[in-house]
């Protein structure tokens, strides 16, 4: 899998510390191994993690292994890219979209 040092992998256990208490905005990629479109958006998210390093924290959350967080934020479709700022979800994109769409979202907060 990923050797990208800028890409975080978060779970139910560390979601609050890693995302909600993050000192920069955070983008969370809710994904699962059985989801084809998630594999489409995955490499794009990895690239963005490098491009936005230090400005936006970019993380992946496996919804299969972390059902509580997915349920808490009402995620019922994947991939969902949810943007958090100051501990709150502020925007989201559902489905595999071009990189430019995701950048537009990130540029609003970075």
């Amino acid at each position: 899998m990923s050797k990208n040092e800028h890409l975080y992998h978060v779970s139910d256990a560390d979601f609050e510390q890693a995302i909600l208490k993050s000192d920069v905005p955070a983008l969370v990629d809710f994904w699962a191994p059985w989801c084809g479109p998630c594999r489409t958006v995955g490499p794009v998210v990895e690239e963005l993690a490098t491009e936005y390093a230090g400005k936006v924290k970019i993380a992946k959350l496996n919804v299969d292994e972390n059902k509580d967080t997915a349920a808490k934020y009402g995620v019922r479709g994947i991939p969902t890219l949810m943007l958090f700022n100051n501990g709150q979800p502020v925007d989201q994109i559902v489905g595999a979209v071009p990189k430019s769409r995701i950048k537009e979202l990130l540029d609003k907060v970075s």
């Binding site: 059985w34 084809g36 019922r76 489905g95 990189k99 430019s100």
Partner: protein, 304 residues
């Protein structure tokens, strides 16, 4: 980047074209904005691709096709092409980053995507209960009631797949018979968790933060009823992914690309294969055959 042949899209059509071109030692690059596989990566199982009598998982078949093409040296470049234009000696491809590539010949294999009906609530609740991908989102609806809209192969197959999770699946179809092939129909009629609402169309998806119900209307007498469902899956057809070249080549009234029997488009040097083509049947088996033919025609064009 400059190449002789560029293939846009890495579904079954594009990967097969790429495999044939690479094997013919053409200088070729396949450009794919995400992961290769196309719509099969969003399909649960593939039941009708020859040679796999035990149904194969969609993403697994996609991976096999990609590996097969790469074995012959196909280069897959992960970029998103937003515009195709005619340039000296061939074509120019503009990427979403603004960068440009050039090629002498081009195969369009960008495929198709699910149609969005645009009824009230539908787009607002995508990811909150509205879905176009049963494989992706089915597991979120364990022991819940859901609805599937449509009556073709995809709609009925996915309704069957969703009975693994949902306690009940309402299948909403505007006609009084299904278009799906008989084998799939018979399975659906035998499945007690599927209830078919014949002669009904969806009117609105209702819900504040997530889907709470679906309003459907009878096409016979106009009466409406509310189905208490937490998920709605739309399978009402396909639209072509032809935005980047719609003005360049001839398309049909829906935007699918028109070709001749050798897969050649209206512009010399451009070929098309797979779901992007204007045609009657969109299957993996047809996409693969067209991909091979498009590569062969492109080779002749390049050598001609």
């Amino acid at each position: 980047m400059d190449t002789d042949l560029a293939i846009l899209g890495g579904g079954p059509a594009g990967l097969t074209a790429g495999m044939y071109a690479a094997r013919a030692r053409i200088r070729v690059a396949l450009l794919e904005k995400g992961q290769p596989g196309g719509q099969i990566a969003a399909t649960e199982i593939v039941d009708n691709y020859p040679g796999f009598e035990e149904p194969i998982l969609g993403w697994e078949l996609a991976q096999k096709m990609e590996a097969h093409a790469r074995k012959f040296g196909l280069e897959v470049v992960p970029v998103d092409v937003t515009r195709v234009s005619v340039a000296e000696g061939g074509f120019q491809l503009t990427l979403d980053s603004g960068e440009t590539y050039t090629c002498r010949a081009l195969i369009l294999a960008t495929g198709a995507s699910p149609v969005k009906l645009g009824i009230p609530g539908e787009l607002q609740l995508v990811g909150r209960g509205v879905s176009y991908c049963a494989v992706c989102d089915g597991p979120f609806f364990r022991d819940q009631e859901i609805a599937v809209v449509g009556g073709g192969d995809s709609a009925v197959e996915e309704a069957l797949y969703l009975t693994r999770f949902a306690s009940k699946v309402h299948l909403i179809h505007r006609r009084d018979e299904l278009r799906a092939i008989k084998d799939i129909q018979e399975k659906a009629f035998a499945e007690p968790r599927i209830q078919i609402h014949w002669n009904h169309v969806p009117v609105a998806v209702v819900g504040n933060k997530e889907v709470e119900s679906l309003v459907i209307r009878s096409v016979i007498n106009g009466s409406e009823q509310i189905l208490r469902v937490s998920g709605v899956f739309f399978y009402v057809g396909l639209r072509p992914n032809s935005e980047s070249f719609r003005d360049l080549v001839r398309t049909d009234e829906w935007g699918f690309v028109v070709t001749d029997a050798q897969m050649a488009c209206s512009v010399p040097g451009i070929f098309a294969a797979g779901d992007i083509r204007s045609k009657m049947l969109r299957q993996i088996a047809t996409a693969v055959g067209e991909g091979a033919l498009a590569a062969y025609s492109a080779q002749h064009y390049l050598e001609g």
